[in-house]
């Protein structure tokens, strides 16, 4: 690195810039992104479970409410919950096929989103349905969980397919 000349009276010129679209008003485009350190904290066992082929929900230790998603405390009474294994087979409560999406997912379209329901579990689970043509998806269809072999520690480590495949 060159030594800084602190007595220089000239601000150094740089060869960096942006895309300039327009001068009046001045409109420009530049890129920005960050590295972000994220912790799943108390929800970590859910993601660890996906890596082992387990789907974990929550059960309230006080009122017995059951949840299809991780919640360390009960949304009905506030008491701590314990982990419970969710059945790997469930039914489609509702669904959609997305032909567009946020930029991050555009190249994955079309993809089908489903809410999974289980008897005896009070709430649902959001996931993707794979291997079923959009026109063949139906509310009430039986589906089963599958897991990615190479975990990414994301909720997409689990996805669903038709129960009879």
């Amino acid at each position: 690195m060159a030594e800084k000349n602190i007595s220089s009276t000239k601000l150094e010129e740089v060869e960096q810039g942006c895309v300039l679209y327009n001068l009046d008003p001045i409109i420009m485009k530049y890129h920005y992104e960050v590295d972000y350190i994220h912790s799943y904290a108390q929800d970590s066992p859910f993601f660890a479970g996906l890596a082992k082929g387990e789907l974990k929900g929550s059960r309230c230790t006080k009122c017995g409410s059951t949840f299809g998603t991780p919640r360390s405390h009960c949304m009905n009474c506030g008491a701590p919950t314990e982990w419970m294994d969710l059945p790997l087979n469930g039914k489609i409560h509702t669904f959609t096929t997305c032909y567009f999406g946020g930029q991050e997912f555009l190249d994955e379209t079309p993809f089908t989103l489903i809410m999974v329901e289980w008897p005896g579990v009070d709430t649902f689970f959001l996931s993707r349905l794979v291997g079923v043509a959009p026109e063949d998806v139906q509310i009430g269809m039986e589906v089963k969980a599958r897991f990615r072999r190479l975990s990414q520690f994301k909720p997409t480590d689990v996805y669903f397919v038709k129960a009879d495949v």
Binding site: T69, T94, T96, F105, M115, D122, F124, I139, T156
Partner: protein, 418 residues
């Protein structure tokens, strides 16, 4: 609590992009147009402000609220920023109401804006989807239209709602906007046009969904004493209500319907509620606001409604949450013409979000301004002489602002105070 009035309002024309004006300038434009309507209101009589904008990502500027407050010449008076997703504007309106109802202030400027044009539409969709649980919902396919599509699929399954009924909402609102010079996307459409538009997330098509916008709006609220000093046509805010629900759509329970005064438990014997087909938060907000405004039967006692139709489906779901019809009858309600401009209770006479646009932080305040002009009987004056959207002698209107998948919802009742 002291009575609270709205004394003036202003909006900018909502547009796809506004590169010649930044957010401060846009708010200033809406603020000045509100101030011009009440000449006796000088800056020194404003006690403080509330700022409304949704996304720091769109602005790429933290504390943008104070930059506007500063630009308007209101420093060093009190100000605060409100953020509650799509309901930010409605919540800002209620925050200003609280400042006056409590006696803390006599005149408050509630202003809002959003500048969504700085990223492309699909990046914008990604920014909006960050308002869903980023651990569990966003990574699965973060896309709000997808979430709403799942909700309406279940609504169709439970109640038999049809895509033609959804399309009828789009036709109605775009048509109303033909006479609203502030609207971004007025259009004469047919049901078939909507059904033929590009599929985005089944069953929601391009014309079932509002567009992204740049825009700003300002509402000025005042105490009773100040209101009658400033204008001979003040509009009283007689009820406010706010409801919430779980962030994750998956976490919605299945319970019994929360009833409004005119409903019976027998109406909903086998309905699991809210599930993902209805907005419990909207029902709670309506219930609180109706109680304060002493409304027993909303269909009979409201003259019009400006509601948050980010999707055609959410307008239908909201008819039901607000008790304009029974749960499940929303599709038939729009089909019957009851929500038309000349219907039993005109819904979104302005054109709503679908046609006006949805610059998030401005949207809820825009609704208050349209409702205000409607109740003052001043639509023609503000719409360049076109009075086609002016309802005949309306006395009471409702505004409804809505966030997330029904996560924050506000309902406010406005009544003629003269």
């Amino acid at each position: 609590m002291r009575p609270v009035y709205m004394v003036s309002g202003g909006i900018t024309k909502f547009s796809k992009a506004s590169p010649n004006k930044d957010f401060r300038y846009m708010v200033k434009e809406s603020f000045d147009s509100a101030m011009a309507d009440v000449p006796d209101l000088t800056l020194d009589r404003i006690d403080g402000s509330v700022a409304s904008y949704f996304s720091d990502h769109f602005t790429r500027q933290l504390m943008a609220g104070i930059m506007v407050h500063d630009y308007l010449g209101l420093t060093p008076k009190p100000s605060r920023r409100i953020e509650s997703g799509g309901a930010t504007g409605g919540m800002c309106f209620q925050s200003a109401w609280e400042a006056i109802a409590s006696g803390r202030m006599d005149v408050v400027a509630a202003f809002g804006f959003e500048t969504m044009s700085h990223v492309n539409t699909w990046k914008g969709n990604e920014f909006i989807a960050l308002a869903s649980d980023t651990n569990f919902d966003y990574p699965v396919g973060g896309f709000y239209t997808g979430y709403y599509a799942m909700m309406v699929k279940r609504h169709m399954h439970e109640f038999g709602t049809t895509v033609e009924q959804l399309a009828a909402v789009s036709v109605k609102n775009h048509k109303n906007a033909m006479h609203n010079p502030y609207a971004q996307f007025p259009a004469e459409l047919t049901i078939q046009d909507v059904l033929n538009s590009e599929m985005v997330s089944d069953p929601l098509k391009r014309l079932d969904i509002c567009v992204m916008s740049d825009g700003a709006a300002t509402a000025i609220l005042a105490s009773e004493e100040m209101a009658y000093k400033l204008t001979d046509k003040p509009i009283r805010i007689t009820g406010v209500g706010t409801g919430t629900d779980a962030m994750r759509l998956a976490d919605r329970p299945s319970r019994e319907v929360i009833l409004l005064p005119h409903e019976n438990p027998e109406d909903y014997k086998n309905l699991k509620y809210p599930g993902v087909h209805s907005f419990r938060g909207g029902r709670v907000a309506a219930k609180e606001a109706y109680k304060m405004a002493k409304i027993e039967n909303p269909l009979e006692e409201l003259d019009f409604v400006e509601l948050h139709d980010a999707f055609t489906s959410s307008e239908i779901q909201t008819y039901e949450d607000l008790g304009l019809c029974k749960y499940g009858d929303g599709g038939k309600f729009v089909e019957s013409g009851a929500a038309d401009l000349n219907g039993k209770v005109p819904v979104n006479p302005s054109g709503g979000l679908l046609a006006c646009g949805h610059p998030v932080g401005a949207t809820g305040l825009m609704q208050s301004v349209f409702a205000f002009w409607q109740l003052q009987g001043n639509v023609s004056k503000h719409f360049g002489g076109d009075g086609a959207l002016q309802l005949k002698n309306p006395k009471r209107g409702l505004i409804h602002s809505h966030a997330g998948t029904g996560t924050y919802i506000t309902v406010s009742i406005m009544e003629r105070g003269f």
